[in-house]
Symmetry: C2
Subunit: 198 residues, 2 copies
């Protein structure tokens, strides 16, 4: 039986980006398969009373430095686009839409968007820029736009976000191994231990 | 030249307790000396707009489980007394008072109080219980009580707390290696790396 873990994420979270970059190596190391779970972090914050750590200036300042340290260690570029943190509603609708309708295009989309968000940041508040990023990654912007307007897709993102909250998620990235939850890219060692113990 | 790091803490923080328990081994491993910095975490929260993570129920629930996991791994008992989290104003005044007036009694006091807070928890909201804990650890409760009423001691705790905030502290435990700050018992590896790099 293959071991599985869930990866709950939002494209707006730099910590989720760092975790995303580690996932291939992590899967190889643990021999476990990932189930990707897109959620709307803003919705999770609203439902739980939590907020982005950058809303506390001292915490935000330290956290960004801490993420920088991790990124340097991981050899991953990390930078921030204008307006960070931005609304990711349309971006996350597209993610879950692709997961539902074109599952083989899900990971390439998330790759392209995370890179445009934190790798070589673009202004992803701007629809024209999003279209450019999509085109460059081989997507048809009009098709993605249509996905984001699809009521079933919208509903799927709401459902995932509600499931996240119901299961105790309050931030991103969040991992589950069975019923055990782990919050943060800095808990991937504990995720690996939980997988090894199964 | 000996390497030094600062350990900022409040007796009310279970994460600081776990870090405190690790300090002897950490000092041995890194060859570095610690400077203990008592602060009033409630004052830091007020000044920074931060709050105890337990104020967000989902986050508090996860965090307590995460601390449990760390405590089991470290082989350290961890439990919570009635009313957690409690006010630590008098306890922290006594800590800094001993640091100023009887420095050789500072670590035994912090040991006894952390143990009574999180090791084998007592009701440290109750002055009689505090006196019992102090007596059992070889302290004269009246002498400690006098320290907590000493204006210079009160001022020293305010000064430390203000220094913490001015230097970017927003939670506990916090470590400094020179000007570099690290928040959390889960960043002690990064503290060790920063010490090794000096």
């Amino acid at each position: 039986m293959s071991r599985r873990f869930e990866f709950w994420f939002d494209l707006g979270s730099p910590a989720a980006y760092l975790a995303w970059k580690r996932l291939p190596g992590f899967a190889q190391k643990t021999g476990a398969s990932v189930t990707h779970k897109p959620m709307l972090l803003g919705g999770v914050f609203k439902a739980t009373g939590n907020a982005s750590p950058v809303t506390i200036p001292a915490k935000g300042k330290w956290l960004l430095g801490d993420l920088d340290r991790t990124a340097r260690k991981d050899g991953v570029p990390l930078a921030y686009g204008p307006g960070f943190p931005i609304s990711t509603l349309a971006l996350m609708r597209a993610a879950i839409g692709l997961q539902l309708r074109k599952p083989d295009r899900f990971a390439p989309y998330v790759d392209a968007m995370f890179d445009a968000m934190f790798g070589a940041p673009r202004d992803l508040r701007d629809e024209k820029t999003i279209a450019e990023v999509l085109s460059a990654a081989g997507f048809a912007p009009a098709e993605i736009l249509a996905l984001t307007a699809d009521p079933e897709v919208k509903q799927a993102l709401i459902r995932n976000t509600e499931e996240a909250v119901a299961r105790g998620v309050f931030g991103a990235p969040t991992f589950f191994v069975g019923g055990e939850m782990f919050w943060g890219q800095d808990r991937m060692d504990a995720v690996a231990e939980a997988l090894a113990a199964r």
